[in-house]
């Protein structure tokens, strides 16, 4: 009976040592016990069934499984020699909480629950030892459970971190994709623009040449005296028409009303035409100061005004074709979109081209230009034009019509130049000053036309590619100001830095 009681000093011995456990159990002489063996994969205890035994594992390893509500069983723990099976159901008197299954060939000692209980009841010393074994076994499981919990928590954190990284990567990918689409769109647009500009340029050049020649030749047909510049009345009216002074609509109106009073019997259209004449040409018509004009006189001046109008038309064709020509040149310069075209250039030309291209949208605003001389820089003109365009369109969208948009360039020191775009709009909320350069940032509500929210992100990228930087600020007097600084470098330096 006392055989299994160890000396006091041994009390704290590791009771998980399978040999010791086995020895103790073996020594319980009158406890009914049997040795059972299980082949690999054989079930030992089934979850949910009542269990009448405690198993002491002597050899092999056992997998604990939990079925839960899912069909697949989940591995929970693994036991080896010295571990006890069936403890929970022994203490709780409830159906087995877990299943256990042999992994390798397993040898166990099997003790009937009632036997153990009876013996514990009869012999307190035995009970004490058995309790110690049980508690030691349970606390081992408990420690393992805590360790597992910690592991789960760590895994959870790692997973969350990975998830966040993945999300960021997705966002980056999307914005990169948007940028690429946007750039591709602009590149295509640029090529299209250059193509169209080229097509328009040829007929436009013919138009220019034609009208220039007409303006040169036509007056000579009316040069009756063959002394250069001495024309008859038709010739005089023709050239006067070509050099028609500019009258504001208001001046024209008041002159017309004055003429209608002076000559009560002329009609409005004629009076309006007469109102356009400069004083010298008007005197050459030799009209009376006032009073009704004779029908013959009216017919004659009407006829003369046809010549005047021809001159008018020629001049207007010349001005218009000149305008088309300039616009086409700007479009061509603006649209050149090629990485290979990095060169030394004066970026003020690009700003002027951009203003020409955007003229239609800018005519609501007062444009204040102060383009101080700056040294040429090395870079891509067309890409920088994209920056000017973005900044101007932002300024237009932020500013009420009639207010001022100012653009300035200056050399701040021998190595850098500064370009500023300021508007009189609503300004930028201080906490957004940095954020506006991020991709997909937009204040526009709809995502129509070019509103991808990429304008400033792309601008920043382009400026940085040129070795400069761009910053947004609010002006004390209201409105936003974008300041760009670019380094002044020779192409040689830049190439070196590039490589």
């Amino acid at each position: 009976m006392d055989a299994f009681i160890q000396s006091p000093g041994d009390e704290n011995d590791d009771l998980n040592d399978p040999i010791k456990v086995q020895n103790i159990v073996q020594k319980i002489r009158h406890l009914k016990k049997e040795t059972v063996s299980y082949a690999p994969d054989a079930p030992i205890i089934n979850e949910g069934e009542s269990n009448a035994f405690i198993y002491v594992i002597l050899e092999g390893s056992v997998q604990l499984l939990k079925h839960g509500q899912t069909k697949a069983s989940m591995p929970v723990d693994r036991f080896g020699p010295g571990d006890l099976l069936g403890l929970t159901s022994f203490w709780s008197q409830q159906p087995s909480f877990l299943s256990s299954k042999a992994i390798t060939a397993v040898n166990c000692l099997r003790l009937r629950n009632e036997d153990v209980e009876q013996l514990v009841h009869e012999d307190p010393a035995f009970g004490k030892t058995v309790h110690r074994i049980f508690i030691s076994n349970l606390s081992k499981r408990y420690r393992r459970m805590i360790a597992l919990n910690i592991k789960v928590a760590e895994l959870g954190n790692a997973l969350e971190h990975e998830h966040a990284q993945l999300k960021q990567a997705m966002q980056d990918l999307e914005s990169t994709r948007n940028q690429l689409v946007h750039q591709e769109k602009l590149a295509t647009l640029g090529q299209l623009l250059a193509g169209i500009a080229h097509e328009i340029n040829n007929p436009c050049a013919a138009l220019n040449r034609g009208v220039d020649n007409l303006i040169r030749i036509l007056p000579t047909l009316f040069d009756t005296t063959h002394v250069f510049g001495k024309f008859n009345q038709e010739g005089r009216m023709l050239t006067a028409g070509m050099n028609c002074p500019y009258w504001s609509a208001e001046e024209k109106r008041s002159r017309m009303h004055q003429l209608l009073e002076q000559y009560p019997n002329i009609k409005r259209p004629l009076a309006r035409r007469m109102a356009q004449l400069d004083e010298h040409t008007f005197r050459s018509l030799h009209l009376p100061d006032h009073g009704s004009l004779a029908d013959k006189t009216i017919a004659r001046i009407s006829n003369l005004f046809d010549f005047y109008e021809i001159g008018n038309y020629l001049r207007s064709v010349q001005l218009s074709s000149d305008r088309i020509h300039k616009l086409v040149i700007s479009l061509k310069n603006y649209g050149k979109h090629d990485e290979a075209t990095w060169q030394m250039f004066d970026l003020r030309d690009g700003i002027r081209d951009t203003l020409t291209v955007l003229n239609n949208r800018l005519k609501h605003y007062r444009i204040q230009l102060r383009l101080d001389p700056i040294p040429p820089i090395y870079g891509s003109g067309s890409e920088l034009n994209q920056v000017w365009t973005n900044l101007l369109i932002n300024a237009i969208q932020a500013t009420e019509s009639g207010k001022t948009i100012a653009i300035s360039t200056e050399q701040t020191d021998p190595h850098s130049i500064m370009i500023q775009f300021s508007d009189a709009g609503t300004g930028i909320q201080p906490h957004l000053l940095e954020k506006i350069f991020e991709a997909n940032f937009t204040t526009k509500k709809s995502k129509s036309d070019f509103g991808l929210g990429l304008g400033l992100a792309i601008s920043k990228e382009i400026i940085e590619k040129h070795g400069g930087n761009i910053q947004a600020s609010n002006r004390a007097e209201g409105g936003a100001c974008f300041t760009i600084t670019l380094p002044v470098r020779s192409s040689q330096q830049s190439v070196q830095e590039h490589s």
């Binding site: 609509a249 208001e250 109106r253 259209p269 218009s320 005519k363 019509s401």
Partner: protein, 165 residues
């Protein structure tokens, strides 16, 4: 008799000159004035009404320095003097939003897209002035020669200005 004016507002002198030429044949009865901005147009309108004449039709560009054409049209619609004036937008670039606004808030009567043909412009001017005369004149007979004769004749008949007897 109070004169009925036509007013054309555009910031491009070429456009004004083109309208002057195209409208010239209407000018015996409906004198034309031109203005280069909304502000300028306000001056002209004041001058016309100051001497007791009226504005029957406005042809107005949209994109101009200063106030837009649509703003001017809405203002005229809300002005007692020019409430009945026929409002026509003559433009190449009023966006959908501005046009919708002109129709809804300014009761736009017609829209002419640039470039126009002289015949079309005259036709629109005649039709709009016909409507103006019907709305504001008790007896439209003096205008029958220049404007839509058939339409005015129907009105004259309906109003009992000419009886069958």
């Amino acid at each position: 008799m109070k004169k009925i004016y036509i007013l054309c507002v555009d910031d491009e002198p070429e456009v004004l000159e083109a309208v002057e030429r195209d409208i010239a044949e209407l000018e015996d009865d409906f004198p034309l004035e031109t203005a280069e901005s909304a502000d300028d147009a306000r001056t002209v309108i004041d001058q016309i009404y100051a001497v007791g004449d009226r504005l029957g039709l406005i042809l107005c560009d949209h994109v101009m320095p200063g106030d837009t054409g649509v703003e001017l049209l809405i203002e005229m619609f809300n002005d007692e003097r020019t409430h009945d004036t026929r409002r026509v937008l003559l433009t190449g670039q009023a966006g959908l939003e501005a046009t919708v606004q002109a129709v809804n808030a300014g009761q736009l009567n017609h829209y002419i897209a640039k470039p126009w043909t002289p015949d079309n412009l005259r036709q629109v001017a005649r039709d709009q002035l016909t409507e103006y005369v019907i709305q504001t004149e008790t007896d439209p007979r003096p205008y029958m020669q220049q404007l839509n004769m058939q339409k005015l004749a129907e009105v004259v008949y309906k109003r009992g200005l000419i009886s069958d007897e």
